[in-house]
Symmetry: C2
Subunit: 315 residues, 2 copies
């Protein structure tokens, strides 16, 4: 039984008003001679054993805890211990273009044989990863920047909510959201970023049409004439939430997440996104392909990207 | 090139107002003699090749697409083709107790040697999985039901948002949410369920204190006296959103997601959760342990569980 670890677990449980039961005490067991790696996502610590020039890491099984210790302790340890000849890596996080569109644009230019190019597509965004053990990446990176321009929202692995948050914080600008089809996902993503209270004021989840009218000032006659999933309603949602929260930017989103609710005119996946600011309001629509999960995730991505472009003066 | 698959991809892209570029055409390539498994989460289909009494499944790499085809086609195929002697399985989804509390409660009773018991903990909930190739599970399952009672929210693998949705739909009751620390996560989870518009009206993401006062009617003097993370504010958020949305149930949540913002009195992870209905309002608080991600996830879980217990008359 590792005493500092047990004391640490006991102290955390005491702060939480919970007792240390025998099953939890087991979390404090670590091997003799192991270094303890603190677990920011749970109780059981990780362990590092070094012997005969080799290192063994023991990590807890729950994926969040595993990843927390991996990020906070294992990767930094590896960065310190692997030799300096590791390959150069350059990342591009791209929003607003599909993987196939990117490939179609970049492949005719081509890449030097010594440079590995990998694409990883997630709903609404694509990561491009260049790596090479021998060649410098500068000229390839410049070619990609020239071809993709403002579609690149970051050159490090951050979510678009982090990129948008930095832009808002840098301008001391505030944001409020009016969400229908995403149901709160955009607010959730924005508030995953520590410090987001500096720029995110909150929002309205206007899932029922009554809320769109009452809480956002959407005109009932526009709902009747154009339907809830329409340019007019997205625009009034963005303008309404900006007015209500007195924020610099208002973001509105309305769509058909599916699998039911689609029509011939307005199929599942159709989404209208609006960003309002002091200069006016821009509205975009997109037809997403995928199940409910994918439509929500992709449309939240595109909404944050439209906001990013508006802040940068590109939309 | 598989013609029906290509036509299908072309039709979906056309509906989305997008062209079929050469890179996308590759998604339509399937092996000769393969059965095509449609992909509800993306474009590239899965494939099934059966030969010499063996089956090979080819699935796309993006995890959501892989899982969609796995759930919709591969698992049903396996269920039809594996023999009837597979082990009996019984699941319990448990909320409101930690894994160690459950283990401490169940292990003194013990399990028959022929029954395998596995625990899987995620933020805010634990899954117990019983399985046995030889023994019936009925009496062990009864013991677990007797010991854990209403902490079990389902005996199948569904999220608590699905269980709560069924309870609300069955009572034709409506819900509105007032979220601070979770930032929209609870609304997002509720609206991940198709058909949730029958009972979820929407809500207020009251991230800034001004929104708590203006949009929910929280008393400024209570904010000043007790702070935003307090029983009084959680209660007024739940009551306020219920009043504003004219819903049967109002759910309020306020807490300190961290990593900053904690004090000695109110450490990171402290969360107040309130459920208001026609009979009154119940408030609970909990001190969660973990990083921002874990605190948000666990507190959304407990909030939905408090609502579940209130609907069932247990809270």
């Amino acid at each position: 039984m590792n005493e500092p670890t047990r004391d640490n677990i006991r102290a955390r449980m005491a702060r939480a008003g919970r007792k240390l039961n025998p099953s939890l005490e087991r979390h404090a067991l670590v091997l003799d001679g192991a270094a303890v790696l603190p677990n920011s996502a749970g109780l059981a610590p990780g362990e590092l054993i070094e012997r005969d020039g080799k290192a063994v890491f023991l990590l807890p099984g729950p994926p969040r805890e595993f990843l927390a210790i991996l990020d906070e302790h294992v990767v930094p340890w590896l960065s310190r211990h692997v030799d300096a000849d590791r390959p150069a890596v350059q990342l591009f996080e791209v929003c607003g273009m599909g993987e196939s569109d990117i490939v179609t644009l970049l492949e005719p230019v081509g890449f030097p044989p010594a440079v590995d190019v990998a694409y990883c597509a997630r709903p609404g965004l694509v990561e491009i990863r260049l790596s090479s053990a021998t060649a410098p990446l500068g000229s390839v990176a410049q070619m990609i920047r020239a071809k993709l321009g403002a579609h690149i929202y970051a050159e490090e692995r951050i979510g678009i909510e982090v990129a948008v948050g930095r832009l808002l914080a840098g301008r001391k600008a505030t944001l409020a959201t009016a969400e229908s089809c995403t149901g709160g996902l955009i607010g959730h993503r924005l508030t995953n970023v520590s410090g987001s209270s500096a720029y995110f004021l909150g929002g309205i989840v206007a899932y029922a049409n009554e809320s769109k009218v009452r809480d956002l000032g959407v005109r009932p006659e526009d709902l009747a004439e154009h339907g809830a999933v329409s340019e007019a309603v997205a625009r009034q949602m963005a303008e309404g939430v900006r007015r209500q929260f007195e924020s610099d930017f208002g973001l509105g989103i309305t769509g058909i997440a599916g699998p039911t609710g689609g029509t011939a005119d307005k199929p599942v996946g159709l989404t209208f996104i609006a960003v309002a600011d002091a200069k006016g309001c821009v509205v975009r629509n997109r037809q997403f392909i995928g199940n409910r999960d994918v439509v929500k995730e992709s449309s939240s991505e595109l909404a944050l990207d439209l906001l990013r472009r508006r802040i940068l003066g590109l939309a």
